[in-house]
Amino acid sequence: MSESDFQTQRTAPLRLALIGSPNSGKTTVFNALTGLRARVGNYPGVTVERREGTLRLKSRTAKIIDLPGTYSLDPVSPDEAVVGQVLAGEIPDTPAPEAIVIVADACSLERSMLLVGQILNLGLPTCLVVTMIDELRARKGQLDLERLSAALGIPVTGVIGHRGIGLAALREQLASPETWSSPPVMPPTDQIERAAWADSILQHVVEKRPGTHTVTDWVDRIVLHPVWGVALFGFVMVTFFQLIFSWATPAMDLIDLGVSAASDLSRTLLPAGFLADFVADGLIAGVGSVVIFLPQIVLLFSLLYLLEDVGYMARAAFVVDRAMARVGLEGRAFVALLSSYACAVPGIMATRTVPSPRDRLVTILVAPLMTCSARLPVYTLLVAAFVPARDVFGPIGLQGLVMLALYLVAPLSATAVAAVLRKTVLQGEPMPFVLELPSYRIPGLRLWLSQIWGSAFAFLKRAGTIILLTSMLLWVLLTFPQTTPPSGLSPDEAASYALEHSAAGQAGKAIEPLIAPLGFDWKIGVGLLASLAAREVIVATLAQIYSASDPDASLRTAIRADIRPETGKPLFDPPTVAALLTFFVFALLCTSTLATMARETNSWRWPAFAFGYLLVLAWVAAWGVRQIFIALD
């Protein structure tokens, strides 16, 4: 190793910034350069994700920061202002970059030239990466990159990001910004003159403008057709939803079986007592509560990225945007909300497709209102136990109607809440909506798999640890302090006694005054606290409290027979059941969702806000419903 090599090794890493318009292929280039080792955080004060990766070049390392996609350096929102602030070094802990890498799509180069002009005026060493060269060729366009480089006065590299073509040359290029040429004359700063400057360069460079993609043109006649397009959209979304629901179930059942087998095994291996209880019910059950989400997450993202990579997602957003605009959201939020019907955890992760940070935040905050599959066991227990099984219209039963109503309240309340959030907490001038329809393409298998792996890994790493810790903490609260039950109790009664005297049991009693107006007693209170681990846990917890040996038939009988001591009437009277169902419609009783929200917004502020507003909403709605039922009685 020579002396100079040794010195470059020791110097601080080179700081590069990657900038480009949305859909320019910037993220693909970033991932291809850095692998999936990006460090994700937040810029202070805004909900814009900060992504930074390390790039190992031949002679030195570089830190590359992936700036949010932007059409211009003139910001139209505080979120967009971040780009300019990073380039100027105005953000704490983010020193200004030493060199800029602009990413532009070969097929829409004419638009990107305006951004290129703005960036060249900053006077930093700059190079241009032109992506999607393959698509340009497929659309019979021709572009002379050497002439473009000569005209701009900066290095230009063509790449095909998703196939890794041209990346070796780009890496070579990035290693030495000191040697990059700079423009002999700065582009004009006036917008009109800049456009003329761009046009004059493009005249020499664009040998042939890309035509329309024949296949895309042909397919879009059906996909965007007023009738067929809507029908196809409906078909794709129903199938999408159905697959997440039905295909994930066998895998989830298998995980459940595996978890209970593992916990049984640990009980046989370990001496009976506290350690065995902890391993079986705390640790293994906690790991299980993380792994149980993987089938849905993997399935959702397989389908989502497949549709995205093929090019359908943008079309779906185009078709549904009008309906979403009514509630202040946009087309790209639709899939995330639909996915939340299966589970809010992958749903919230799917909001990444929404480019505007504020729209994305609204979507994240209303996603928990969707009727996720964890509410189903709770609804089933209460409806089966307390709603009379009589027919209303012919074969349509009352129980089915109540279930349908519970499912329909979700989108109605979500749209109402979204509209309110837009006018209060997240108000502001709506961002201009810009959507591009990429050409259809056959997705690359490697990219697809790495996207799915990236999502699953992100969930396990960031949300999984929190879910594991909270579910273990809840186990501790439900188990300690341990008391000796009076002799003569059956095992079920002893378990009930232990739960009543645990910390959670005491907490249930402590919160009783708060939930008494809803008709809930301490037993329901304990159930609500336990359901923080996951909503359906309330069923098992109630079973334990009522010493029911199985959470199905005998629990139903036990809760029907429970008498309120003050009145001598049933605890679960119609007003209380209606209030409890309503409470579950709204309340965010799910630490997994909270953990995922924290991971996606990079702060605990928004999950705390969501938990708070949904709790208030749940309490008020449950109280109101109870009053209505009492009045009707």
Binding site: R111, A195, P432, F433
Partner: protein, 94 residues
């Protein structure tokens, strides 16, 4: 509302959002009152730019436009910031 790049007020002048799908127009100017107007400029809706209206979404909004060799979808609320004049389409819409 502040209006920039004002040019002649021809009788055929109207808003981009009013142009029918399948026809073509030329940008006269952009209303720069708010974020949407400025964004239209960033996107390349500059005076003299030819714009083709390709289609509307099934529910009537947004619409798909072609300009400067690329395509994008805009909502009516944003595209009405662009002032245009109608042009006869020389070639069948692409």
């Amino acid at each position: 509302m502040k209006t920039d790049f004002n040019s002649d007020s021809e009788s055929s002048a109207c808003r981009l959002s009013e142009i029918r799908p399948g026809s073509e127009c030329e940008v006269m100017g952009v209303d720069l009152g708010d974020a949407a107007g400025r964004r239209m400029l960033d996107l390349g809706f500059l005076p003299g730019t030819r714009v083709q209206v390709l289609r509307r979404a099934p529910l009537g909004d947004p619409s798909l436009y072609a300009l400067r060799g690329f395509q994008l979808c805009l909502r009516e609320a944003d595209s009405r910031h662009v002032r245009v004049t109608r042009k006869a389409s020389k070639e069948p819409s692409r």
